[in-house]
Structures are given as C-alpha cells and as structure tokens.
Symmetry: C2
Subunit: 222 residues, 2 copies
Amino acid sequence: MRVFKIPEATIMRLSVYSRFLTKVKKQGKVTISSNDIAKGAGVNSAQVRKDLSFFGEFGTRGVGYNVEELEWDILKILGLTVEWNAALVGFGHLGHALALHRGFQERGFNFTCIFDNDPLKIGTKLNDVEVLPLAKLEEVVAQNHTRIGVISVPADAAQDIADSLVRAGVQAILNFAPVYLSVPQDIELRNVDLAVNLEVLTFYLEMHRQGYSTERTPNLAK
Amino acid sequence: MRVFKIPEATIMRLSVYSRFLTKVKKQGKVTISSNDIAKGAGVNSAQVRKDLSFFGEFGTRGVGYNVEELEWDILKILGLTVEWNAALVGFGHLGHALALHRGFQERGFNFTCIFDNDPLKIGTKLNDVEVLPLAKLEEVVAQNHTRIGVISVPADAAQDIADSLVRAGVQAILNFAPVYLSVPQDIELRNVDLAVNLEVLTFYLEMHRQGYSTERTPNLAK
C-alpha cells in the first residue's frame, strides 16, 4: 500500500485556501497568484506553493492559477467534490450549533441522522432530520452506511458513543467531547477541544505577563 | 526580552494532561507515572516527559508525580490558577453553545459580557449576563479590562469585530468564524475552524479510497 505523508497543517491550509478561492470566484476573479492566495489565508506565498506541491503541478509560472480550476483541484484533494453524510451524536447546545453550522452545509456536509438520549429532544426535528434515541444509533448508522460520526456529548459518555459508532461502521470521528477517545487504528479520529484552544491563549498571555516573548505561531494551521 | 519557544502541540497536550490529572485526583489517586498520564492522554510517556521538561523538573524518578502538585504546576503554566473573563461576540447557536460550554466554566473561563446585533437577543440574559448591542462592545470591553475576546459571528462580520476587540484592548482572540483575521502582531489570535476539522477527516477518507495509507497523526495535539 502506498504511504502518503502530508503535514496535517498543509491539509488544514488547503481547506482555507479553497474557501478563499470560492470567495474570490464569487467576486468574479478568474486568475490569482500564490501571493494573493497567501494574503487571503494569512500565510506567505512560498507556503502556498509548498502546500500545493505535495499534490502535483498547479498554475502557470508568471500567470498564476485559474481560480475555478484550483478551487476544484483542492476540493478534489480534500474529498469535497462529493457530499458527505454525517451522524451527529449529542443534540445539546453544541450539537445544535453544529447541526446548523453554515460552514458545514456550504462544504457539502449533511447531518443525515441525529441522536440524543433526552426524551424531550427525541422525536423533535431539525429541518427534515428527526432526533433519534441513542439506542437506534448502531442500527441506523449502519443502515445508512454513514462514514463520519460527530460526537458532541459530555466527556464521560463519549467513549461509549465512539465504540458504538465504530461498531456501526463509521470510518472517521470528529470528537468535541473534552476527553481522549480510544479507537481502532484504521478509524480517523480528530478532537476539537474548545477549552484547549482557549488555554493556548491564556498560556501566551501568562508568558507575556512573566515578561517572556513567545513565538507568534501562524494562526491558520490550527 | 526573553524568548520562550514551546511547540504549540506541547501546550495543547499540557491542557489535556492537566484535565486528566484533575480526573484522577477526583478518583483519589495521589501519585501517577508518566506512563499512566500518557495512557490517559493517548500519547507515549516519552512525550509526556518531554512536554514537561520545557518547564523544569517534575516528579521523582521511580516514584512518579504527585497528582495534585503536577495538576497545579501545569495549571500555573497555562495561566489557569486565576479566573479569566472573556467577551463573547455573536450569540447565535454557536455563541450560545460556547457560553454554556461546561468545559470553559470548569477551567475558570467566564463570559462576563456577550454581544450581538439581533434586537431579539439584545437585552435577554444568560445566567446574570445581559446580551448587549454590538455598539456597546468597545466601551464595555475596555471598561471591564476584558483580555480575551471570542468571536462567533458570520465570516463577513468577523474582521470588524476583531478590530473593535483590539481597539477595546483585548490581548487574545479566539475566532470561530471561518475566515482569516488580520490583527496586530502583539495580539494572540487562534482560529477554530469547524469545517477545516471535518475536511481533514474527509481528506484521509479520500486518500484511503484511492488506496493510500496515510500516517495516523496522534489525535490529541489538535
């Protein structure tokens, strides 16, 4: 099997580049330089070229990139030329926010099933999607061949949910519960720990208070 | 000025370690090995020791770490032995979820002011905090000497909000809007782009579909 080593920060920046390209495309721009993409993404143009170089040759020296072509090429790299169905587990405030997050819909992510254990939420609908009891999770996710699970339940419930999602056959999990989840090696797991992100900031503020200067890290590869 | 270079992934892991230590402390554990911390955080013990070594000597060879001491030491490093007041701008679904996120309160983050431009939200209260109009942002944030701003407004409004927060004197911004924000060098900016996190997963799934094996990245340093 071919191993493909790409820095994760590169993947995250590609996502940002493609969204910027979508924006300038809507503004009617036809060609764009790596420098302009860099400006729009808050990195330098060498970074843009390096990130793209992992995936082949793009653009024309001296001319730049065709906006629509590059947007499409990056979307293809990111697997976003198709729509993705995801299962949302945990329909609390965060789950609700995720289900309604325009940033997901715009990029082709659809929550086709939502689960919660709260009797007051079960049976309610978000758009056409009914909130189902957790007891139905494995059956429904397996039936729909849903490949992505998003976990927004409390920390102490998250591992059980992850186990159910894995048994139901999901291949990737996005976890918002502030806890480490153990999953099989072949499952792609990504944690978004909201508090961690604030604590990186307080760390820097505390360092400054102590009179240290901290290296400013590029703010997009997060 | 002393420059202090710490890998950001280290800071993020420290945040995870400290939360794990809080958990085992509640379970009555008095001492713990780097190996157990590593297990609880999904990394290896060498990583734990290396992360801690940036900040001095911790624990006793052969004995391990005193849970409560190490928890406190890490909280000190992260600037979390004090409470932090933050301003929340954008009280939509995501803003609401952030304001109620237990993970923030548990770690000493308080949203002491909330702003939105929706007349239906202005004047409503979350706990004791009244939602104020955006027009009040600079005045109130400056008066309260709020040092952290959290942005959860749509992408096209985010830069203006960031500018206002900077004028009001915040030192750090956590941005949830899917757009690159330009801020002065001395402002700590961190972006949490929810779609980017899903797109890293679809990238891996697409690579697998094409028959590539991708390097599994440790799932916590995110």
